[in-house]
């Protein structure tokens, strides 16, 4: 990759706060500001601040915007009709059911929607949607390249942000709802850490002042490394790793995001999903628990008692909040929580426990440590 890395509007702010920067999906992003563990802990105990400006907002407006998104997205944005400001998590599929990307879509009222795209796919997704729209017409696209995104996450995040931004109404904002206090500020009660929190979209020129005000309340600057261990504990997939164009939602523990209720809604990938549901998916995504001396990593193999390969780790890490190794792993469909499986860790085969993700929810471990590991 010879292409220069993009920098967010907060690049010099990160440097001034001691960030170690690292390339991620074409962007130069803060990996950590000294200790991933300390930042992870800050988000679980109080609040952390992440610059996620590598994720790109794209606004859609016009009489055909709703029908375009009902066709392009596997979840049904008709669920948002009654409540402007509401958000929905969804996959965007290929005709064969493979996942093109995952995203959050916000209904802004009237015929206006805002979607937030992953860094890696943002450009391709935008032109894909524009091509789809051209078939029908009636949708205007507006890339918000002059906006950045900050995520403030943790049990104290909302209270501290309400003070820092002088917006007491944030306390009453419900999960997966958004509010636009000003034309150049958009705040949603969403996140990617398994904690309460908000995501703040604002113009580049305002981001540093917002970040400073949050830090003054006690929010800890946090990098992509902590974001990754937090999201994995929360059982949240990472696009490109836990799901790709070769995996359907049902193979990715995301079947719940596919809305088949309206039989007339012919969204892209629908027929592939319906036939997969008749036969059942060939593989499924599960969680794994392992002792801390056998930390699973992306690409490690899972073996049956007989030594047969039955799956692969898609994301793996030490879980700081649990003191264990955890993973998401794609396993053969006949394998499940009662199966004996072994993780190949270098020269050893270590018994793993298969569980339903997440590993961490509502401020506590889902699987208590004393009963977490196979005997």
């Amino acid at each position: 990759m010879s292409e220069a890395l993009e920098r967010t509007a907060l690049y010099s702010w990160h440097q001034a706060h001691g960030a170690r920067m690292s390339p991620f999906a074409g962007w130069e992003m803060p990996l950590h500001y000294g200790s991933q563990l300390r930042e992870h802990e800050a988000v679980r105990q109080a609040a952390g601040l992440f610059d996620v400006s590598h994720m790109r907002p794209l606004d859609l407006q016009g009489p055909a915007a709703r029908s375009l998104l009902r066709r392009a997205l596997a979840n049904d944005i008709a669920r948002l009709d009654a409540e402007p400001g509401r958000a929905l998590y969804t996959c965007m599929l290929q005709e064969d059911g493979g996942i093109l990307d995952d995203l959050i879509v916000y209904f802004l009222g009237g015929d206006r929607y805002r979607i937030v795209l992953n860094a890696a796919g943002a450009r391709a997704d935008a032109s894909y949607l524009q091509d789809l729209a051209e078939e029908e017409g009636g949708v205007e696209f507006l890339r918000r390249d002059d906006w950045g995104i900050l995520a403030c996450q943790g049990p104290k995040a909302v209270a501290w942000a309400a003070e820092a931004l002088a917006l007491p109404e944030l306390a009453a904002l419900k999960p997966f709802r958004s509010v636009a206090p000003r034309a150049d500020l958009f705040i949603a009660r969403t996140g990617y850490t398994g904690e309460d929190g908000i995501e703040i979209l604002a113009r580049h020129g305002h981001l540093a002042a917002i970040a400073d005000a949050l830090l003054a309340r006690g929010v800890v600057p946090s990098g992509l490394a902590a974001r990754d261990s937090l999201r994995l504990e929360a059982g949240l997939n990472l696009y490109g790793q836990d799901m790709t164009t070769t995996d359907s939602p049902d193979r990715s523990h995301l079947g719940w995001t596919v809305d088949l209720r309206d039989p007339k809604r012919d969204f892209i990938g629908r027929s592939a999903i319906e036939s997969e549901r008749v036969q059942g998916p060939a593989q499924r995504l599960w969680g794994l628990l392992l002792p801390r001396d056998a930390i699973p990593r992306h690409g490690y193999e899972l073996l049956s008692a007989a030594g047969e390969t039955i799956g692969t780790v898609t994301s793996g890490s030490f879980a700081p909040s649990l003191g264990l190794g955890i993973a998401l792993a794609r396993l053969r469909a006949d394998v499940g929580p009662d199966s004996a499986v072994f993780l190949q860790v270098r020269q050893r085969k270590v018994p793993a426990r298969i569980v339903e993700p997440p590993f961490w929810r509502h401020g506590q471990a889902v699987y208590p440590a004393e009963e977490s590991l196979p005997q």
Binding site: S35, L37, A225, D293, F318
Partner: protein
Amino acid sequence: MSQVPAQLRYSTTHEWVAQLVPGRYRVGITDHAQELLGDVVFVELPQTGQAVQAEAACGVIESVKAASDLYSPLSGEVVASNAELTDNPQWLNEDPYDKGWIFEIQADEKDFAQLLDAAAYQNSIGE
């Protein structure tokens, strides 16, 4: 800017080596190495009595993020390892040159003399 103590010798794979007595050496990873690894959560130590080769893997260091091989800077026999790291892997981050030492090796003095000095190591990491 990471610390590179002047009295130690270094390998290009980011281990430091201290001479305890001629022929016996203590090994750890450099401050620069621990910064690159991030928070260390598990160390698989080389075993006492194990024969190791210079520049060959002899253990594993796991950070939250990734597993990395630990290389031996010298050929020889492992004569001790720091068992306290099993319960305190964070010492590799907090005190890489003292409490975070990893193992001791019986090796040839001539090989030790070939290792990088502090200035050469500092140069090799671009600092």
